[in-house]
């Protein structure tokens, strides 16, 4: 039985998506508030706290997420989708709320980072179990000709969760001073506390839902799996499909998703050095404008198949990542900005001497002036220049002034037309994400039988997204260390992984939509 009427399926999609969105929100706020959390729970100079911090960052995403996929996937195939993804929601919401209640390191010492680590691991575990349940649940309610469209609503939640997290944090932050926000019991805890309200609402809605009709039928007939792990990974015929899903689709989708949604933001902030608020504005517009395309490509995949839409998204990433990121760098080259004429010419609006160092070598005295200069043009572009100029041979006539050859330019502000150009480029990258990610739930659901679907689809999904996608910043740092002169070197990792996936997907995957997922 599927729900073809708008109201019934609407409820199913809404209740599933809301919970998944909240889980993403919970997972993101920890990452977004990492700096404050680090100050409160993982103080510098304490080796144990530093180790726990590294574990919280790496273990939650890389180890625990796939493990959660196995634990809850198994549960979802044995006791049902509804109870399982209700449980993951409680776990996620509960641990998020509790993180907001833990006193800081200064109050309870090493117990604070230990508790945070424990709760962060529970968050990773819960996230590993949620997605497969929600995708399976919606797909098992959907008619064949709308499976891609209906499950694409689930696909929007990872992006919308980012939106809500960013919105809540910005709202809280804008209503208090920085000191009030970052203090031990300050505003940074509010987003964690808010989570419990969201979770209660979502649990209430999910409790009213009934079990997936396909799973109920299976259970009634006594055909539910008693050992989904063995059937998923011990049975060669199914295991080969798990491997195909991972290497032929999810691996590439994971890096495209991460590069568009997270690496772009980090690149604009840390490499291009765009001003904090404008960077977020660019990301929010780009992501916001592209989000509806999840639904467009989900629906399109019902008509023309999943395979080529997903692979096209990855291939476009492979082709355009380097030109797009290179444009970000080229267009924000301050040396070029300084050469511009007319309204575009930047002029100094303030200059602050930070400090003056005096260096004596033998009889010669040199002064090094560290200054911060703010530039702005009438067109709206601006930047902060931090430089250290030296006056050599002070007292002699003439003294020699040596200008800093490598001033640092930060807080770059783009003019309105350039800002929109950047928004368009981010939009294009998110469009690649929507192509690769929108059909993936329907694609995975159709690959596996009902009795072991939750387990079989969850593991490749979380390895693809959590491990391959989550590794993007780490590998980018690694590549930058080996080739420090090329600021785009970090892109080779997502490009190579996506290219590999395109090759495997092209030759091994079929574009045929499985009309019958009732088996």
């Amino acid at each position: 039985m599927v729900l073809s009427d708008g109201k019934g399926i609407g409820k199913v999609i809404f209740s599933s998506s809301l919970g998944t969105l909240i889980e993403w929100y919970d997972f993101y706020i920890f990452g977004m508030l990492a700096k404050t959390i680090s100050i409160q729970f993982f103080p510098e100079g304490n080796d144990t706290a530093a180790l726990l911090s590294t574990l919280a960052i790496f273990a939650a995403g890389f180890l625990v997420r796939p493990f959660g996929a196995l634990v809850f996937g198994r549960l979802g195939d044995m006791i049902g989708r509804k109870s399982t993804f209700l449980f993951t929601l409680v776990l996620m919401g509960g641990s998020t709320f509790l993180i907001g209640l833990i006193p800081g390191y200064r109050t309870i010492g090493i117990a604070a980072p230990l508790l945070v680590l424990l709760l962060r691991l529970i968050q990773g575990l819960a996230l590993g179990g949620e997605y497969g349940g929600a995708a399976t649940y919606v797909a098992e309610h959907s008619p064949t000709n709308k499976r891609g469209y209906y499950t694409s609503w689930i696909q929007t939640t990872a992006t919308l969760g980012l939106f809500v997290a960013l919105g809540v944090i910005m709202l809280v932050k804008s209503n208090m001073s920085d000191a009030s926000f970052t203090s031990e019991w300050g505003g940074w805890r509010y987003p964690f506390w808010i989570s419990i309200l969201l979770v209660i609402v979502s649990i209430y809605i999910r409790l009213k839902m009934s079990e997936s009709p396909l799973y109920t039928k299976l259970k009634k007939e006594g055909k539910a799996s008693s050992n989904p792990l063995k059937e998923s990974f011990g049975n060669k015929a199914n295991f080969k499909m798990v491997l195909l899903a991972l290497f032929g689709a999810v691996m590439g989708q994971g890096v495209v998703w991460y590069t568009g949604q997270f690496y772009a933001q980090s690149f604009l902030e840390n490499t291009v050095k765009i001003e904090f608020m404008q960077n977020r504005e660019i990301m929010l517009w780009g992501i916001g404008l592209a989000t509806p395309f999840f639904l467009v490509f989900g629906a399109l995949s019902d008509r023309i198949g999943r395979k080529w839409i997903m692979l096209s998204g990855m291939l476009l990433g492979v082709i355009f990542y380097r030109p797009i990121f290179n444009t970000f760098l080229k267009d924000t080259n301050v040396k070029e900005w300084k050469k511009m004429e007319g309204d575009a010419t930047p002029t100094i609006i303030s200059k602050e001497i930070l400090k003056v160092d005096s260096i004596t070598t033998g009889n010669e005295l040199a002064l090094v002036t560290h200054s911060k200069i703010k530039w702005q043009s009438q067109q709206g572009t601006g930047f902060t220049e931090t430089r250290a100029d030296s006056i050599l041979n002070v007292g002699a006539t003439p003294s020699v002034t040596k200008e800093d050859s490598k001033p640092v330019f930060t807080d770059k502000k783009l003019s309105s037309p350039m800002k929109w150009k950047f928004i368009s480029l981010v939009f294009v990258m998110i469009l690649f994400v929507t192509m690769a990610y929108a059909p993936i739930a329907a694609f995975l659901v159709e690959l596996f039988p009902t009795r072991i679907r939750y387990t079989s689809m969850s593991l490749p999904y979380h390895i693809g997204n959590g491990v391959f996608g989550g590794l993007v910043p780490f590998i980018a740092t690694l590549l930058s260390a080996s080739s420090p002169t090329d600021p785009l070197v970090g892109l080779w990792y997502p490009i190579l992984i996506a290219a590999l996936c395109v090759v495997i997907g092209t030759f091994y995957l079929t574009n045929k939509i499985d009309k019958n997922i009732n088996d």
Binding site: L246, F247, D514, D519
Partner: protein, 81 residues
């Protein structure tokens, strides 16, 4: 197409140990007690190599299946699984 899959199968089987070798070599080159970046710490490398080893073995099995012609015909219903 199927013979191409078989040739590629050999390539995937070879790629898997190369990936592990590169990861271990990168770990040994970058772990540095004086460094401050994540790539200088041993814990992330231990976690990444731990999780990547079974994935690379998976790639090797994928290659082996491909070489043996397991992907020449994909299942069309659950009865084939």
């Amino acid at each position: 197409m199927n013979s191409l899959k078989k040739i590629m199968g050999f390539f995937w089987m070879t790629l898997a140990p190369i990936v592990i070798y590169l990861l271990v070599r990168s770990a040994l080159q970058n772990i540095d007690s004086t460094g401050t970046k994540d790539i200088n710490k041993p814990v992330p490398w231990i976690i990444i190599i731990t999780i990547f080893t079974p994935i690379a073995i998976g790639l090797m099995i994928f290659g082996y299946y491909s070489l043996k012609g397991e992907y020449d015909h994909l299942p069309e219903s659950s009865d084939d699984l």
